[in-house]
């Protein structure tokens, strides 16, 4: 299976795609043979999802060709691709929970007899279809909403097969599955292979990529780094391909050992719906970097500390005193600030002025404490200090650049004199100049004694800024790395390529 067979099912040549002038895919080649599992791996933002959307008709490529079953195709949309025989199983299922399995499988192309839906025939066909992929326990007339996640996934696959799919794309198929369910999926994938169906398998988890795939294509920054036979490679090599880039940017000096103060925030076995058994200490004066993949619990951690979706288990102490951070307000009163990763959705009030945006938190929580004039004067000073360029204080914030918006958000929090700052992707979508200004500011805050927790998907930034790095995976701490760790070490922990150190 490791030799690419002579007649590929799908061939991509030089696929390119840009969004608003940003190149997300550039000259990507890839092919899938019938009965082959071809895995696609890469960091967040490497271009995997975009590539899959192009294959399944969601996007039209700017350049390159898609050849499917021997003919060059231009899909006009997902339905067009489905009719041609390409199915996609998303992480989020597209099922109608109130309908039966059979109704979902044949949704939109129900078998018809004498002008009416042939229910009997539909059930029979669904049962046969399920049996053909080894599913004999799943009743075709069960309501989908009552099924478990793994069974719903089977329904999704049956849905694609009912349309005679010859190529199936699976996007992070195990993300929602429990461990024992993953085994079932393995069996299913193998049976699909036996039927000669080609599979494009996108996953962050290297273990299953090695278990299932025949070949692996590594994407990085929208380009194909390499395609390797799974049998001839190791997890280490793969990780190196995924990250291999040179460190070039400048970052401010790290904290000297004597600058690190006492433990300010201490989490013991803390957990909630998205986190479990998190043990973590955050010290005054340090920048603690949080690494991990999207959905690994990084943001959930910050949001739990800030009281947005609070911890439900475990203990939290702040300066050695137990605290319950139930809401953003309690967290703010305890001296915690949170700069969200979704600046547009929950970081700014777009149509209000720069000044109103910067005053938002002080008005809401500490209105009684300080005089109005003094507060406004202080916020104006802060806005000047963070150097917002080319904008007056009374300009609507939505007309500012991302970098300037972020600085206004920072000013909002600095006005509260926070002792703990949680940054979630503080420089995402920000130009280079503003980026290094924010880096300097983050470091200056730590130097002045604040405890800083910084989440970043940008590995050079994470490595360049952090005094320590904690890597999250699947809602818990996968491991901790000291300053000077390499990108490979972070990624290896994040994808689970190394055995995690016993805590």
């Amino acid at each position: 299976m490791s030799d690419p067979p002579p007649t590929p099912l799908l061939t991509l040549r030089g696929i390119g795609k840009s969004f608003l002038g940003v190149r997300v895919l550039d000259g990507v080649d890839l092919d899938v043979a019938p009965g082959e599992v071809h895995a696609v791996v890469g960091e967040n933002g490497a271009g995997k999802s975009t590539l899959m959307k192009i294959v399944s008709g969601g996007y039209a490529p700017d350049g390159g060709t898609v050849e499917f079953a021997g003919a060059t195709r231009t899909f006009r949309g997902p339905r067009d691709a489905q009719r041609a025989g390409i199915g996609i199983i998303h992480q989020e299922f597209n099922l109608l929970p109130e309908r039966t399995v059979a109704e979902n499988v044949y949704l939109g192309h129900e078998p018809v007899r004498r002008g009416l839906v042939d229910r009997r025939g539909m059930l029979d066909r669904t049962t046969r279809l399920l049996a053909s992929i080894g599913e004999t326990t799943l009743p075709a007339d069960a309501r989908v909403g009552q099924l478990g996640v793994a069974q719903q996934q089977v329904v999704e696959i049956a849905k694609a097969l009912a349309l005679d799919a010859r190529l199936l794309i699976m996007d992070e198929p195990t993300a929602a599955l429990a461990d024992h369910e993953v085994e079932l999926l393995y069996g299913l994938v193998r049976r699909l292979q036996e039927r000669g169906i080609g599979l494009l398998y996108v996953s962050h988890r290297l273990a299953e990529v090695f278990d299932l795939s025949g070949r692996i294509t590594v994407l990085k920054d929208g380009r194909r780094v390499t395609t390797v036979d799974t049998a001839d490679t190791t997890a280490d090599q793969l990780v190196r391909h995924m990250v291999g880039r040179e460190l070039s940017s400048y970052y401010p000096d790290r904290a000297a050992p004597e600058d690190r103060g006492p433990v300010r925030l201490n989490l013991r076995d803390a957990g909630n719906r998205k986190l479990r058994d998190v043990n973590l200490q955050l010290r005054a004066g340090e920048v603690l970097g949080i690494g991990g993949l999207q959905g690994s619990g990084r943001s959930a951690l910050a949001r739990a500390i800030f009281g947005v979706s609070p911890f439900t288990t475990g203990d939290v102490t702040l300066d050695d005193r137990p605290v319950r951070l139930r809401s953003p307000r309690t967290a703010m009163r305890a001296g915690i600030a949170y700069v969200t990763e979704d600046r547009k959705g929950e970081g700014i009030v777009p149509r209000q002025s720069v000044l109103d945006n910067a005053l938002l938190a002080s008005r809401a929580v500490f209105a009684a404490r300080s005089g109005r004039a003094a507060r406004t004067a202080r916020v104006r000073e802060l806005l000047a200090a963070v150097e917002i360029r080319g904008a007056g204080d009374d300009q609507e914030i939505r007309f500012l650049s991302g970098g300037n918006q972020q600085k206004v958000v920072l000013a909002r929090w600095l006005a509260l004199n926070p002792r703990i700052l949680l940054f979630d992707e503080p420089t995402r979508g920000i130009d280079v100049g503003a980026k290094s200004a924010i880096h300097d500011l983050v470091r200056r805050l730590a130097r002045d004694g604040a405890a800083v927790l910084m989440i970043s998907s940008d590995l050079p930034e994470l490595l360049g800024m952090s005094d320590r790095i904690v890597v999250m995976r699947d809602g818990h701490v996968a491991g901790e790395l000291p300053a000077g760790a390499t990108e490979e070490e972070v990624v290896a922990l994040a994808v689970g390529a190394v055995r995690e150190p016993v805590q």
Partner: protein, 327 residues
Amino acid sequence: MQTVQPRSLPLRLPRVRPGGVLPILAILAVLLVLVGIRQPDFLAPQSLMSFLGRSAPIILLAAGQYFVIVSGEFDLSVGSLVTAQVVVAARLIDSDPARTWPVVLLLLAFGALVGLVNGLITTRLRVPSFITTLGMFLILVGAVYLWSDGAPKGGLSEEFRRFGRRAFEDVPVLGRVPYALLVLVVLAVAAVLLMRSDFGRTLVAVGDNPRTAELSGVRVWRTRTFAFILSGLAAAVAAILLGGYSGVSFQAGAGLEFGAITAVVLGGVALGGGRGAVVGAMLGALTLELLFALMNFYGVSGALRSTVQGGIILLAVAVSATRSSSR
């Protein structure tokens, strides 16, 4: 004040700041010119003062509605609340002057309570405000009929009625200044000051992006509930003025909620919240009243009022939507 004004209007509109009061001022000016051409007497101080006094209730309701709309919600209950207040006042006062002030206080408390209930149902039970206040509208209509056995009972005292119908006589230059106008000016100034306060700025921020506000420590539910209370209070004051002016009937407040919403939208306030000035909303109400007066002067049937309101709402929302999406 010549007809140059309307011609320069289309050129200026795109450049003014969205949510500002310039467009509504321009429309108001155009209408004043048209009124002046048709009925110059109307612009004499005497009749202008009386017009402003008559318009005070709808202007106050527009201000109340503004607080709710700018925070991202709706209040459809104010019309029936006004009716309920007037009917309740008549029955409780029962033409006894000594009961005037207690009943006035009671009406204010009743207005605030209805607002509180609207607010709590909307924010805590997460019922969309459109539905909450529609339900409240129906409940109040039914309750008033039930309570008064189908016909208004009792009567308002002369004391009570003076807010709506009396005036300061012989004021230099202006002539007769209705009490209602004084009430309006005082409350309008209070509303403007409130919108400049921390609460006011926070209210608009909540309407603009409740997620951000929540994550910045704003208690969004309290802020919005307070907006509903303000709307209920505005309805109480409007009811006191209206009852005085036009007396007791089951029609006292009919349709006022739509008038108020039209006025707010006309005043450049974005439906869905986050943009617009309370002054704009109040000017919107004044403009709407002036438009109705103008229709009257030109002999247009009064039956067209609601059609005109509907047209204005659609047009104003369409204009603001296309203007904001073209950015």
